[in-house]
């Protein structure tokens, strides 16, 4: 009798099935409708690649997509470098002056509303008289996403056995060598996951980018956002489907990478 408690019950299965349907159905419907031949978003006119074709002829959208990809790649890379350094400093640096302030600054952007982050960075760029465009958006995204990278790398680093490094140093490595040869390969899956998270967050952001970009350098989400406010267009379905596909590929690559490197339980878990 007692055995049956907590096993699969019809209630549990229903809750799970409904939950998953809720999470995935809207996305599936979006993807299906991106292949719709009809100009009307809601009328099914047969399968077609028409709207993908349309996107590749839309200069403004292509420019925005290219801008977004560049910003995401550059900011994710800088963020991964800085975030990993921050994680090393926090986990291995023990106490140093201003440590509390440092970790506070790294946690605050995770919870701070994007409107505030965006507004404050814009005020800085205006005060510095910086020309707004690619670099200001990239800096803004780096600041936000490095905090996520720090969290991901920090948790992996904290769970790592420190005696491995000490053994390497006993065998004659200096601390930097020990870190590069022993620790770095072990935390690489977390670093890769951090880069991916930073990349997708940057690719997704519309609020901070709106504050920090200049005229003529809109990112893809900004363009999508302004189109969506005017109503649904089939071309947007196609763009969204491509973004989803790109992210899906990244997730598969990341989980394969972490499986190959033998890190258990590290696969693309951002929280």
């Amino acid at each position: 009798m007692a055995r049956r408690i907590g096993r699969i019950s019809p209630f549990n299965i229903t809750a799970l099935a409904l939950g998953m349907a809720f999470l995935y159905l809207p996305i599936v419907i979006l993807v299906i409708y991106s292949f719709n031949a009809s100009r009307l978003v809601t009328v099914w006119g047969g399968w077609s690649l028409r709207w993908y074709h349309e996107f590749f002829n839309d200069r403004a959208m292509l420019d925005a997509a290219w801008m977004s990809l560049r910003v995401a790649a550059v900011s994710a890379t800088i963020a991964t470098l800085l975030g990993t350094l921050a994680a090393v400093g926090l986990v291995r640096g023990e106490r140093f002056r201003g440590r509390t302030l440092f970790s506070g600054m790294l946690y605050a952007p995770l919870v701070m509303p994007e409107v505030i982050s965006g507004l404050s960075l814009l005020l800085l760029f205006v005060a510095l008289n910086a020309e707004r465009g690619f670099w200001t958006v990239t800096i803004a995204h780096t600041t936000l996403t490095m905090c996520f990278v720090t969290v991901v790398v920090q948790s992996r680093l904290a769970s790592l056995d420190r005696s491995l490094e000490e053994a390497a140093m006993d065998l004659g490595c200096d601390p930097v060598q020990a870190f590069v040869r022993v620790t770095l390969p072990l935390i690489l899956p977390a670093i890769a996951a951090g880069w991916m998270l930073a990349f997708t967050l940057s690719l997704d952001d519309v609020v901070i980018a709106s504050f920090t970009t200049g005229p003529g350098s809109a990112t893809l989400p900004i363009r999508i956002y302004s189109e969506v406010r005017l109503g649904v267009k089939p071309e947007i379905n196609a763009i969204c489907t491509m973004v989803i596909a790109l992210i899906a590929v990244l997730i598969v690559v990341a989980s394969l990478a972490s499986k190959l490197s033998g890190a258990r339980g590290e696969s693309a878990a951002p929280l």
């Binding site: 939950g19 809207p26 973004v243 693309a268």
Partner: protein, 304 residues
């Protein structure tokens, strides 16, 4: 022993670059927000009275401090637009968090009771939408909810309604969008506490004569409270400052504080008032943040 000491130093140096970065791009800009929220509005580019003029030295700095004004905050308090958007943010965040708990709990519970080898897959399935663009997921709902969208088509085909229902630009659409976007944030902490729970406690409860429902209410639920708290705060805090979802899905009636800030900044171009709204929004976030911090600490201590 000495190896530890040697190692500590290079690791500390690692923090220098990110430290400087965060000071320059997080702390300093934040100071600007504070300062500008205390400045007077000016018709200029940028539209506020300049912060400091260092070329004039100390007297200029003293003069700048003498010029600080709380006018913008007074305006925030006296104008009903700000008060109502402030209140609306709280109402929307509380309501959405409650709905999220109601929907998220059964899903997390179902996940935690799956056979062990299925659990990582279920968790992956919950996380994937978190990676998928936020904007795209909201857009997907606009597709469904619009006037001649799928939802109305199905309802009409089933003869549940006789004419298309207006879904877009309503509060229900906004709540749906918020719940949809934040569901993973609610499920994951709940699942984390529920899956760690010792099921023998439930067996003990049933041996002592309680029905499954009683066992749930008297054993499972109280034990999952840390997860409930973490999930609720993880959702509540970002929803307070939400901008995109209410802008795309809610009607044009009343705004949340994030929207007011945006409007003040981009449409009215009143930077000082926008900065003051930002400060007010931050103040609103302090209690839930402190609560979350305390909860995390207690959970960590409990784990030890």
């Amino acid at each position: 022993m000495s190896t530890r000491r040697i190692f500590a130093h290079p690791a500390r140096y690692a923090a220098i670059a990110p430290y400087l970065w965060m000071v320059l791009f997080f702390l300093v800009p934040f100071g600007f927000v504070l300062k500008i929220s205390l400045s007077q509005t000016a018709i200029a580019q940028p539209p506020y009275v300049p912060v400091f003029d260092f070329s004039e030295g100390w007297t200029a700095i003293k003069a700048a401090f003498a010029q600080l004004s709380f006018d913008n905050f007074r305006l925030l308090i006296s104008d009903s637009l700000y008060i109502s958007s402030y209140l609306r943010s709280v109402v929307v965040a509380v309501t959405s968090t409650l709905i999220l708990l109601l929907i998220g709990y059964p899903i997390a519970y179902g996940m935690a009771r799956l056979p062990l080898r299925w659990q990582p897959i279920a968790m992956m399935l919950v996380i994937v939408p978190f990676w998928t663009s936020f904007l795209i997921r909201i857009y997907a709902w606009i597709n469904i909810l619009q006037h001649d969208g799928l939802l109305n088509k199905i309802l009409l085909a089933l003869h549940l309604v006789s004419s298309p229902v207006v879904w877009l630009s309503t509060d229900s659409a906004m709540y749906l969008g918020i719940v949809y976007s934040y569901l993973p944030f609610m499920i994951l902490p709940l699942y984390a506490t529920l899956s760690k729970m010792d099921t023998s406690l439930l067996e003990a409860a049933s041996d002592l004569g309680s029905s499954p429902l009683q066992a749930f209410w008297l054993v499972t639920f109280p034990l999952s409270l840390p997860g409930v708290g973490a999930g609720a705060l993880l959702c509540f805090i970002p929803i307070i400052g939400e901008f995109v979802i209410p802008d795309l899905l809610a009607g044009s009636g009343s705004m949340m504080i994030g929207q007011t800030l945006w409007l003040e900044f981009f449409t009215n171009k009143d930077w000082p008032v926008a900065a003051a709204a930002a400060v007010a929004l931050l103040v609103l976030l302090v209690p839930p943040l402190l609560l979350y911090d305390r909860l995390q600490r207690r959970t960590l201590e409990g784990a030890k």
